[in-house]
């Protein structure tokens, strides 16, 4: 368990699969994700099963809201690169009623502490579509800096959109901790 203040991150369970399938098929949620095609229950189940094999490089966890004890989203550490000490992170709040409450920011802060203090990682980065202003603001609050603008990286809703890469280094994270 990774403990945040208002959320915690736990391992995914088979009972979560149907809920996650619902999130990913929701156009408002999907707009911010890489997915394109409608996703079947079995496809989501296969994905879930693939994540159950022990992995040193891929970990996806469920985000639970402490107040309601509901599984509201997922957090992923993707392609952990142990040589370069780099990890890509991804976050989704699938339950729309829980958007704009700072819960994603809370989960991200907990995951960053875990990445730097437990996994001993030097650099955490993420990709976010340029139109996802709410997410960008949340990442900025967590200390991420903009590093790159990938022009016309993704095609959605009839046009190309930019992708932003944001990164946070251990040195910056530690400095920020000292200030607080």
């Amino acid at each position: 368990m990774i403990e945040g203040k208002r959320t915690f991150l736990r391992a995914l369970e088979r009972d979560d699969v149907e809920r996650m399938q619902r999130w990913i098929n929701d156009p408002e949620v999907k707009r911010h994700l890489v997915f394109t095609f409608p996703l079947s229950y079995d496809q989501e189940l296969s994905w879930y099963k693939s994540k159950q094999l022990p992995s040193e490089t891929e970990v996806v966890l469920g985000i639970v809201d402490r107040e309601t004890n509901r599984h509201i989203g997922n957090f992923g550490f993707h392609g952990i690169d142990w040589v370069n000490s780099v990890v890509e992170v991804g976050i989704i709040i699938g339950e729309k009623d829980f958007w704009s409450k700072g819960l994603g920011t809370d989960a991200m802060r907990a995951a960053l502490a875990y990445a730097f203090n437990t996994l001993n990682i030097n650099r955490v980065f993420l990709k976010v579509y340029g139109f996802n202003k709410r997410a960008i603001r949340s990442y900025e609050k967590c200390g991420f800096n903009r590093e790159a603008l990938l022009r016309e990286d993704v095609f959605k809703d009839g046009e190309y959109h930019d992708t932003i890469i944001m990164g946070l280094l251990r040195s910056e994270y530690n400095m920020k901790g000292a200030e607080e």
């Binding site: 370069n84 000490s85 030097n122 590093e147 022009r151």
Partner: protein
Amino acid sequence: MDITGIALPVCRSSIIEMASCDPSSKKAVRLMICPKGEEIPIGTAFLFNIDWINRSAEYGIIIGSKEHWSGGHGEDATKAVIDYAFLSLGLNRLYLSSSSINKMAIMCYKNSGFIEEGLLREGRYCNGKRRDVVLMSILRRDHLGKGEGASDD
């Protein structure tokens, strides 16, 4: 090894696997680079992670024969692959990443039309130091200009 960002030794079978891309998958194009009139390749250029919905692909090139470094072959090959990607495959965006210390490669990409998009700070660890990674891209409109389609020359 220092400039490719591949830290672990590569075995023969993984190279064979990498080189033998299945054309039916339409995910990658791997090409050998030969100087005009010569048969022995000096390097390889490739498009991979081809994404047909977003019309993008990642570009990579290695001039493995060190005596051919600085001979302009990399730039020549890069320009040929860019033309191929936009005019034959109909892609919209090519992108690449390069260690910031690989000045020769970055110059080659710039001369071929790639533009810097950002810097992944401390993205790579090599020879005891953390290095930045430069991201570059070229868009269809950068390459072909405002009027679609190529000039006739």
